[in-house]
Symmetry: C2
Subunit: 200 residues, 2 copies
DNA sequence: TCGATTCGATACGTCCGTGTATCGAGTCGA
DNA sequence: TCGACTCGATACACGGACGTATCGAATCGA
């Protein structure tokens, strides 16, 4: 029989550190967080941290890239399963509980966006993701419009830009005033727009 | 004749510190900024800072409240001068250059929002401002819709929520990908929506 | 003009965070 | 079972940021 593991795998340690860092980053921001806070939150000392990452910034990049990869594959799978726009929105509603820590943590999402905004070499990474998402959403919207014979005279990319920005804007405002900014405000708005396009 | 002033007024010093802090906060974030950085950027030493503020946080609050007051009075004046929605949007286009440092600095705007999000006692302050702005924008939109005999079956507050969120969302995304997010994307979208309501 | 006051500069002690070097227990292969 | 290796813990030296106490020049009142 295999001996019970006392020390966690290197990768387990790494993942625990990233997961713990997500919470601490959300609470205090990347700049406001010390390496020690991260290590302690993960149940380690700084030794473990420096054994896995050379700087706090490297960890932030790893966290971001983990999330972007997860987000991409998740969206692709979702799109593949629900090619119909209306069903897609419904699917998004069932999407709240996901294992990706960033997906559950709106404060962290905005924090990381701001971190990227301040880190020029990271901007293309997130920028590309942003444009891909816009394209996806824009195409979905264009499909709906076409199906209803509506022509807004706008590029689908622009529609995507607006919708994706709306999502993040509501996310941001919900951090400040959750009572007046319902969690499903974005999805409700999407459905409203769908309805308006169906019966003009 | 009055002797030429060698030492700046207390209030001048205070304002210089706030103005300088705005830039440093934008670059490094509130948490990532030291009191010394602020003082030096303002052309003083820490002595001057601690003579005017007791903590960095107090300065951040002062900066926020200065901005909110300026923003409120500015918006009120704008609304009073341009009661017609279409003219209002046009007026916003000429609004880019304003003396309020926060108004010129989108990165700082988002940074302060995030700072407020992390500071529970500040959330009502900004939350109230947010709701006021939504109300204003929502009413303006409702006016346009009513004038064209359109009924979306939506509260004007919801329209305001969506539009204000869209503005900030585009602001945020422009920090990451300015090339694909034009500075006037928001105003262009407003005009597009106006046009769509006029000729359905 | 002269004293009192204001307010920013300077100097100090302290604490916190960092990164590295070293140690020691856990793990794996032979 | 033994030895090499891995990897997290511990210890240390250093720098930076903080807040306070003190100083001195500019200002204002009389």
């Amino acid at each position: 029989m295999s001996t019970p593991r006392v020390r966690p795998t290197r990768e387990e340690t790494r993942d625990r550190i990233i997961t713990a860092a997500a919470d601490v980053f959300a609470q205090h921001g990347v700049a406001g967080t010390s390496v020690e806070q991260i290590a302690v939150a993960a149940g380690f000392t700084r030794g473990a941290f420096y054994s896995n990452f050379s700087t706090k910034e490297e960890l932030a990049v790893a966290m971001l890239e983990d999330h972007l990869a997860a987000s991409r594959s998740h969206n692709d799978a979702l799109l593949h399963r629900h090619a119909d726009p209306a069903a897609f929105v419904d699917a998004l509603r069932d999407d709240v509980g996901r294992d990706d820590p960033l997906h559950r943590n709106p404060l962290l999402q905005i924090e990381l966006m701001l971190y990227v905004a301040r880190t020029p070499e990271l901007r293309p990474v997130l920028g590309q993701h942003l444009e891909a998402k816009r394209g996806l959403v824009g195409e979905l919207a264009a499909t709906t419009l076409r199906a209803n014979g509506v022509d807004l005279g706008v590029e689908s990319d622009q529609v995507g830009m607006v919708l994706v920005a709306l999502e993040d804007g509501l996310r941001l405002h919900r951090l400040i005033d959750p009572d007046s900014t319902p969690a499903d405000a974005f999805l409700d708005t999407l459905e409203l727009l769908q309805r308006l396009m169906t019966q003009p």
